[in-house]
Symmetry: D2
Subunit: 311 residues, 4 copies
């Protein structure tokens, strides 16, 4: 039963649910909204669900710290898929409401920086109040508590509202990145456009440690895509780093870099290798970093050890 | 008038206010609580206050993104002081309330991970609800809405409450770091135990840029104390970095590193050099990085150019 | 008197003399051949000559160790000019000698690897013997001691010989680099295509020292053109490095790198900045390394210290 | 027959022969002096000898370029052993000669810098002339051509001479390093105090290539013991590097570094892993670089790929 269940950060009617529906397998899963990232992931850890779908990063707001912290601590989890969803808000109102009649607006606080300029230009006198989620804001509008809510347009029919204005987005290309998380398991095969995620703890009292860590990637020609520091909880100045790099763990260059990290860091947590949502293969790949190059070098090493090396 | 006014992240009775009072000059300032970091800093930008006192980082929760984002964008600001405050919660109740009688508790959501274990052990059946701030939670207890609030012990007298339990802190050494922010001005003199903060944007499409950036510090023997990535708002994958390094901008090694960053990065925002709250001088300082070493090398360079070099 | 005298590695009739004549000022100097690099340089150190012209490097034979060692020790000297001379040998014989009649050939040992293949193909049975210099070999041929000598074609008239075969050179583009050395003095102005030479001693017992040394150049975007290790005489495993880098000491990037070396190394000996003989400006110059970039960064630093920084 | 024959740089009576006799197996070999490094090594290449014993480096004179160049080009060879021999000269004379009667002295030119100071102090008026080898100088003394020769004390009985003065050595700890070279074959087992030698060609037109090459060692915590540049013969500015690093090719850290070089460099020639003559194990070894660390990291990688990683 649990194998067919996915939890997600609810409630229904949010961008998270919209993003989840872009996954083909979502059509055949029981989708269960939960009220926090921690609850969604705990359901996976506990075996009540096979996957949890949660936001991890937003191009305007930055990292979703709850997701990062859950991935970095507790029972291990792995990322199996990522989804990128452009974020544009609609202004949802009860049927019949006009712009001039809007005195109060609501939405999740995260939405505010993305609609601030639109609000200042179009509803300068409206009073803004926080809601627990964008979907919850829509519900409160349908109940008459506020006049309008910023939410995804897809939330309108759920709550019997009308999208009075669509495509509101202050920031160009506002996008949220979501991940499908499961218990550790065999990683899927490389697609040629993959991403690998991990959490790395730095050696104590070693000022150049971050530089050394980055050199493990650089010396194998691997580009970093994201690096996010999080406190370890051991006091100010102690951080771990969530890192996304290009490539798949089964690629030799990535495997060797990960082993390098494992050797020099007190702890490394592998969070998965999965297809990049943008499907872009690595660009500007450094010569000598393909699997074929690694295999050729490995063969050469064997010949050296045997006294049969050419050159 | 504004020269004697400091804004801070309110309301009164929070850890922020308690930290602010550790600054000697706070005694002679008008202290104005405001409801958000943005409002507190905007008052400084607008000239209505000479300083704003806000949290920037917590050893359990991590960066305060609102503060980081405000420092990284908008009219420039600078950090002039930092304060470290150990965070321990008291359970505040109306006089007469006993532990057994507590059915509902409240506090700011940030407090929750730091009291979770205590709650589970001592009040496993109590219902927790979020408040807008710890002080606000205390107010709601005094109004009878909840039975108990987690807040700083100092908030008890303000709201006529009693600290039923003190020193509740799940995480060892939970600490919040606060900064006093002002408009750009002359930085204070070096104390020998200083910290320098900045925001750095990476060159576009340049995979090794973060490594090069760190090497500008490493080659001058400067340790990093914090590195925090934030989205630039230009789409996923575009980050700027808030960096704290040891040392003072007036030190030659720091000045040279900052000029190096300025040359290779599209944008660098200097956020100030100020005394370290822990008063610890740099440890493990690399030979050849003192101001005297820089001056000696500079003199030698002049002699080389003049054809008078020894050796 | 000594101001108009140049010594050079003699005797007359060698490639060194031919290279010296490519310097315009050679026409107005008294040119004095001496029998070793050490003697030629000692004459400069002692004030008997204002310049010494000596080979420093050959594209086939490598470094001229005597020159490197003299520059690295003793009273300081500086390089003021470099000359590149393509090396091609002629087979010099007494008038009337034919190829079939040549039983013995001679030349300086350095010439041997550059004519070995020609000898094997054309005079497989000839016996080769060493001479103290190519010119000396020519002299010995003129005296009848050997049948033929490999030397520069220009040596033929000096010794009354005929160039029986010209342009003998096994290695493609065999070239020798010569330098004009003088006592330390003001360096000439930058030309836009300059080279800077130095000797650098590594810190003791510091395995990564060479890497750190190279990073002082890399972080300022300076390309190395030559790096040559020489023993310090303190026992096996102790080396100093003769380094040529692109650029002129008066360029900010070069000056800063040199100061960096001066700070981290126990000893640095500046050997001069002088025009590149190939007149090639630096290629692939990294953004942010021009003098204008340094000046802009320096101005920005001043504004930061004054609290007037933009951005 | 050839399996029991070792060639060496002759003639007999030189330091090379003395060093060769420190190898236990020398007692059971036919030892054949040849007149040049090239001839000694060609005998190995051609199968007429199983080993060639030649000097490679001297703590005063630096690299023996003939040996380096032979190892870097032609049919591949490998180093199987190294020997360090302290170099101290004796002044050899015909029986009866006294110091006051010495008008002419001779030796190989390499000896001159190591006895210069002694000569100036003790025989300021003696005329010095070069000999083809120290042993040849001794022979010429025995024939009456010169009055005295600087050579190893061990050469005295061979030529019927007396060591008039012993232990002459200007430079503290003058030492020559010799290597036993053979055709490529299985390398001997690691002893725990080993050295690995190689020749590396840099990628064309890639200014930072040397830095990248050194980082392949640094990232695996491997100390370099020697780096020597040699021209490739492709024109000035084109070098290859002879490198000695600590460790044995069968060590994982060394093997991985060598594979890294093989991938990024157009050519790498493995010259062997052999016991260090000083028998010193690696000092200051970086954590995470032992074979056990590599194996642990490799096991962890397998578990990650299988979805069974801990942490």
């Amino acid at each position: 039963m649990s194998a067919t269940r996915y939890t997600y950060l609810g409630p229904a009617g949010t961008f998270t649910e919209a993003a989840l529906h872009t996954l083909p397998e979502a059509a055949t899963r029981e989708l269960v909204p939960l009220s926090s990232v921690a609850l969604a992931l705990d359901a996976v850890r506990g075996g009540e669900a096979s996957g949890a779908f949660v936001p991890i990063e937003n191009s305007v707001e930055g990292a979703v710290t709850a997701t990062n912290d859950e991935l970095a601590s507790g029972a291990p989890l792995m990322i199996y898929r990522e989804v990128l969803l452009p974020i544009a808000f609609a202004l949802l109102v009860r049927p019949g409401t006009e712009l001039a009649g809007i005195k109060t607006v609501t939405s999740h606080p995260v939405a505010q920086p993305q609609v601030r300029r639109w609000l200042a230009a179009n509803l300068p006198d409206a009073v803004w109040e926080s809601a627990a989620s964008n979907a919850d804001g829509a519900r409160l509008v349908s109940e008459g508590r506020y006049d309008a809510a910023f939410a995804g347009e897809f939330a309108a029919p759920i709550y019997g509202l009308d999208p009075l204005v669509k495509d509101i987005a202050d920031a160009r290309s506002a996008t949220t990145r979501f991940v499908l998380v499961g218990r550790p398991g065999r990683i899927s095969s490389a697609t040629g456009a993959d991403k690998t995620s991990m959490v790395v703890w730095l050696p104590d009292d070693h000022p150049g440690a971050l530089l050394e860590l980055l050199q493990e990637f650089a010396v194998r020609g691997i580009n970093l895509m994201r690096i996010e520091s999080r406190p370890t909880g051991e006091g100010l100045g102690n951080y771990c780093f969530l890192i996304d790099c290009e490539g798949h763990l089964s690629e030799r260059r990535v495997g060797e870099a990960m082993m390098g990290l494992k050797r020099i860091c007190p702890q490394v947590r592998f969070l998965g290798s999965y297809p990049r949502a943008d499907r872009q293969p690595s660009t500007g790949r450094r010569p000598g970093t393909s699997d074929a190059d690694f295999t050729a070098a490995s063969d050469w090493l064997s010949r050296c050890l045997d006294g049969r090396a050419d050159a």
